[in-house]
C-alpha cells in the first residue's frame, strides 16, 4: 500500500481511538488527503468554549513535506489572518519534521491560541490591537469566539444573542463612542468602523491619531 495513504489512515484511526483528547479529524469527502481537524479553544483564554475547525490538505509527499493547514473558523489572533485563516507557525514551514503528525500539529495550533506571538504576526492589525490593549483585544477575540466558534455569550458583549444581528463594532474591537463620534459627521457606519479598525483607533493609541487624519481617511 502507498506509504502516504497508510500513514494518513493510521493517523485518522489513532485520532478516532483517542477519547481523551478534544482533537478530531474528519473526512471532507472520500479522499483521505483533504480533511477537517477540530479542537476546543483552550481553557483560560478568550477562545475557551469555542470549537475551532482547520482545513487540512495532505501534500503529495507527506510526511516529508509539511501538511497545509488554515483555520476555517474565523479566529481573532495575531498569528492567524483574520481574513484568510492563514497561520504563521514555524512547524508548518521550515521547522516541519516528518515525525510530526496531524494530531500533534493540531495540538500545536491549540497551544498557539494560548500563547500569541504578536512580535511575529500574521495579521498586523490584530497584532497592533493586542499590543495596544490586551483586554480590549481579548474582548474582541471572545466575541469572535462566540460568533464564529459557538462560544458562550457574555453579558455586555453583543447582547448575548448568538443568533441575533452581529455587532460590527464589537467585531472590530472598537469603542462605541468613537464610532458614534465620526458617524455624527455624516459618514457611513461601516466606513467608520473600517477606517478606525485600520488606524487601530483604540486605547492609548487614540491620543496619537488626530481627527483630521481620520476624516482624511474617511474621505478617500
Amino acid at each position: 500500500m502507498d506509504a502516504r495513504l497508510r500513514r494518513v489512515n493510521k493517523e485518522i484511526a489513532d485520532c478516532k481511538n483517542d477519547k481523551q483528547s478534544s482533537v478530531t479529524i474528519d473526512l471532507v469527502d472520500e479522499s483521505p488527503f483533504h480533511l477537517i481537524g477540530s479542537f476546543d479553544g483552550p481553557e483560560g483564554t478568550p477562545y475557551e468554549g469555542g470549537r475551532f475547525q482547520v482545513d487540512i490538505v495532505i501534500p503529495d509527499n507527506y510526511p516529508f513535506q509539511p501538511v497545509k493547514m488554515k483555520f476555517i473558523t474565523k479566529v481573532y489572533h495575531p498569528n492567524v489572518s483574520s481574513a484568510s485563516g492563514a497561520i504563521c507557525l514555524d512547524i508548518l514551514k521550515d521547522a516541519w519534521s516528518p515525525v510530526l503528525t496531524l494530531k500533534s500539529t493540531l495540538i500545536s495550533l491549540q497551544s498557539l491560541l494560548c500563547s500569541p506571538e504578536p512580535r511575529d504576526p500574521q495579521d498586523a492589525e490584530v497584532a497592533k490591537h493586542y499590543m495596544t490593549s490586551k483586554s480590549s483585544f481579548e474582548d474582541t477575540a471572545r466575541y469572535w469566539t462566540m460568533i464564529y466558534a459557538g462560544g458562550p455569550g457574555k453579558e455586555g458583549l453583543g447582547k448575548g444573542a448568538k443568533g441575533g444581528p452581529r455587532d460590527e463594532i464589537a467585531m472590530a474591537g472598537l469603542d462605541r463612542a468613537h464610532v458614534a463620534q465620526f458617524e455624527a459627521l455624516g459618514f457611513d457606519r461601516a466606513k467608520v468602523i473600517d477606517v478606525l479598525r485600520r488606524l487601530n483607533y483604540r486605547g492609548a493609541n487614540v491620543a496619537n491619531i488626530n481627527d483630521d487624519r481620520v476624516v482624511e481617511e474617511l474621505l478617500k
Binding site: 512547524i91 514551514k93 521547522a95 516528518p98 503528525t101 500539529t105 495540538i107 497551544s111
Partner: protein, 562 residues
C-alpha cells in the same frame, strides 16, 4: 583549464587574497574567449579593427564545468580533512556549514572543535543539560525564540520520540520494527544517523528525494524533530540506492552551494546548464560601478551578467542602474499584477523566492533574510515599528498619492525613454521572424545567383548584428534616462543617435526584396553596413566603458553603492 585553475586552490576565498590570485588568472586566461561571437567561417569579412585583444568594455572570465568545480571543492575538502584529521565527508559538511571559508572554519575549529561540529550537524551535542550552542545556521531559532520551542514541545511529540527510542535496540536486528514515519512494521531495512534516530530505508529515500528534488536542499538533517544531525554524502548515496538522477541533482546542488559562497564564481543561470563562470575582476560590489561584467559559460549563447540577475547583455548600463530602470518599468506599468504574481526576488540577495501557502512571513532559502510578502519590508519591522501590510498600507497609499501628483512632464519624460526602450526590445524579438525570412532569402539567393552558401551568410550575420545592436540601444535608453543633463550626456546621445541610425538603415537593407540583377551590389552594401554598425556599436560601448573608468557619468538619481 582546470589544472591551471588549481594554482589558486590553496588560497582562501576571502576577498583580500583574491587580488593576488587575480593577476595570476588574468595572465593565464587572457585569450579573448569573451569576444568569440563571430559566425564561423565568415568572421574575416567583418573584422573590426582592434584585433582579438580584450576590449575596454569586456571582462576577463573563464567557464568551468561541474567536474572542474568539483575538483576545486575536493581540494578544499582534502585540505580540511588532512589538517583536522576527519573523514572527507565530515570535512565537506564543515566547509558547507562555514560557507567554504577555510580560514574561518580553521580558526573556529581550533578554538572549539566540538561546538563547530555540533553546529554543523556532524556531532551530537554534549550530554549534560548545558545550554545548547547557538545554532547560527538557522534563522528561525533566533527569530522565534524560546516561545515557539515551548509551544512545540506542548505538542504530542513525546510520543514519537519515545517510540524512536524504543525501537532503537530492536532495530539492531531483533524483531518488529515499526517505522515512526510510515508506521510500517514489515520493513526490514532501516538506517540511522549517528543520533540513532532510526527510520526505515524507504522513508529515508523518500525524504531525501523530497528535500533534493522539491526543496532543492542539499543540507539534509535527520528526520527526527529538532535533531540537527546532517546526513553526510555517503549516507545520502546509500539511502538513494539506485536513484542516480536524484544523486546527480544532489551533487549539482552541492556545487551550486559552493559556487554561491565564492564571490568570484557564478552558476550559469540558463535552464539545465551546470557550468560555472569565474570572473575575479567583477567579484566586488564596488567593481560593478565601473564595469558591466557580461560573461558566457562554455556554451556561447549562454550570455549573462556576472554582477546581477539579468540573464542578458545589458551593456552599456551598469547593474545598479539597469536594476533601477527595470524596477521603474515594473512599478509604472503593472504594479498590481506584479504584486499578485507568485515569485519575487529576495530584497537582500536577489534569489527568486516562491510564495508557499498563505503566510506572508517569508524566509529566503539562501540568505535566511526574513521579510513580508506583501510589502517586501523586513519582517523584523513588522514586529517592532508596526507598519501595516495587509489591506491597508500607509506607505503605499502615500506613494499612490504622490504618483497622482507627479507632474505630467516627468511622466512624459519617462515615456520618451520607455517607448524607445520598448521599441528596440520589440524589434529584437521580431528578429526571430526575421531569421526565418532571411534563411528563405539566402536559399533564394543561392538559386538566383552564383553565390555559394558560405557567400550568402552575410545576410545571417547582418541579422545577428542588428539583434545585438538593438540590445545595446535598448539599454542606452535606460542609461540616458538616468544620466544627468550636460555635455557628457549630449555626447552619449550623439553616439546613441549614430548607432540607432546605422542600425535602422541596415535593418531596412535586410528586409528589402532581392533583385537578382543587383545581388552582388546588395552583398557589398550589406557587408559594408554591417561593418559600420559594428563599429558604431564598438564606439558606443567603448566610450561608455571608458566613461565609467574616468568617472565621467553622473546620475540624476541615487545609484545603489555610489
Amino acid at each position: 583549464m582546470s589544472s591551471d585553475y588549481e594554482i589558486s586552490d590553496d588560497e582562501n576565498y576571502s576577498y583580500e587574497e583574491e587580488e593576488e590570485e587575480d593577476e595570476m588568472e588574468v595572465e593565464d586566461y587572457d585569450d579573448g574567449s569573451a569576444s568569440e561571437i563571430e559566425v564561423d567561417g565568415i568572421g574575416d569579412d567583418f573584422k573590426v579593427p582592434g584585433g582579438s585583444e580584450r576590449k575596454v568594455y569586456e571582462v576577463d572570465y573563464m567557464s568551468l564545468s561541474q567536474p572542474d568545480v568539483e575538483k576545486i571543492m575536493a581540494t578544499d575538502v582534502n585540505y580540511i580533512s588532512g589538517i583536522f584529521g576527519v573523514e572527507p565527508a565530515v570535512a565537506a559538511q564543515l566547509l558547507r556549514h562555514m560557507n567554504w571559508n577555510k580560514e574561518k572554519l580553521t580558526d573556529k575549529y581550533m578554538d572549539n572543535a566540538s561546538q563547530v561540529s555540533v553546529a554543523a550537524g556532524v556531532d551530537l551535542p554534549p550530554r549534560e543539560p548545558t545550554p545548547p550552542p547557538p545554532k547560527a545556521s538557522s534563522s528561525r531559532q533566533s527569530s522565534t525564540g524560546p516561545t515557539r520551542t515551548a509551544r512545540r514541545s506542548v505538542a504530542e511529540t513525546s510520543k514519537t520520540s519515545k517510540s524512536t527510542k524504543r525501537v532503537a535496540s530492536p532495530a539492531a536486528g531483533v524483531q518488529s520494527f515499526v517505522c515512526p514515519i510510515c508506521f510500517d512494521d514489515s520493513q526490514t531495512e532501516t538506517m540511522a544517523l549517528m543520533c540513532e534516530h532510526r527510520f526505515c530505508s524507504s522513508c529515508w529515500k523518500e525524504y531525501i528525494t523530497s528535500k533534493v528534488r522539491t526543496e532543492a536542499e542539499c543540507t539534509i538533517t535527520c528526520m527526527a524533530e529538532d535533531c540537527n544531525i546532517v546526513a553526510l554524502d555517503p549516507f545520502v548515496k546509500k539511502a538513494l540506492t539506485d536513484d542516480m538522477e536524484t544523486w546527480e541533482r544532489y551533487q549539482e546542488l552541492l556545487v551550486r552551494q559552493f559556487v554561491s559562497c565564492i564571490p568570484h564564481l557564478k552558476f550559469c543561470p540558463y535552464p539545465s546548464c551546470t557550468n560555472t563562470v569565474s570572473c575575479v575582476s567583477a567579484a566586488t560590489k564596488s567593481s560593478l560601478l565601473t564595469m558591466v561584467p557580461i560573461v558566457a559559460c562554455s556554451i556561447p549563447t549562454h550570455v549573462f551578467c556576472f554582477g546581477c540577475p539579468i540573464d542578458a547583455d545589458h551593456r552599456p548600463v551598469i547593474c545598479a542602474v539597469a536594476k533601477m530602470w527595470l524596477q521603474k518599468c515594473r512599478d509604472d506599468s503593472e504594479t498590481a499584477n506584479w504584486i499578485k504574481s507568485n515569485t519575487k526576488e529576495c530584497s537582500k540577495c536577489q534569489s527568486t523566492i516562491e510564495k508557499n501557502g498563505g503566510c506572508n512571513h517569508m524566509t529566503c532559502k539562501k540568505c535566511k533574510y526574513e521579510f513580508c510578502w506583501v510589502c517586501m519590508g523586513p519582517w523584523s519591522e513588522h514586529g517592532t515599528s508596526w507598519y501595516s501590510c495587509n489591506r491597508y498600507d500607509e506607505k503605499a497609499s502615500v506613494d499612490a498619492r504622490d504618483a497622482q501628483a507627479r507632474s505630467r512632464a516627468s511622466l512624459e519624460r519617462y515615456l520618451h525613454y520607455y517607448n524607445r526602450w520598448a521599441n528596440h526590445e520589440q524589434s529584437a524579438k521580431l528578429s526571430m521572424e526575421l531569421y526565418a525570412k532571411t534563411e528563405k532569402k539566402m536559399e533564394e539567393m543561392q538559386i538566383t545567383s552564383e553565390l555559394t552558401w558560405i557567400q550568402v551568410q552575410f545576410m545571417k550575420k547582418a541579422v545577428d548584428v542588428v539583434f545585438k545592436c538593438r540590445m545595446t540601444l535598448k539599454w542606452t535608453y535606460a542609461m540616458a534616462y538616468y544620466l544627468s543633463l550636460g555635455n557628457e550626456k549630449e555626447l552619449f546621445e550623439d553616439n546613441q543617435r549614430d548607432l540607432e541610425r546605422a542600425v535602422e538603415e541596415l535593418s531596412e537593407l535586410i528586409e528589402a526584396p532581392i533583385d537578382p540583377e543587383t545581388i552582388m551590389a546588395l552583398r557589398q552594401k550589406v557587408t559594408d553596413k554591417t561593418v559600420y554598425v559594428q563599429k558604431r556599436n564598438e564606439i558606443m560601448l567603448e566610450d561608455t566603458a571608458k566613461g565609467y573608468l574616468d568617472g565621467r557619468w553622473s546620475w540624476n538619481a541615487t545609484v545603489d553603492g555610489l
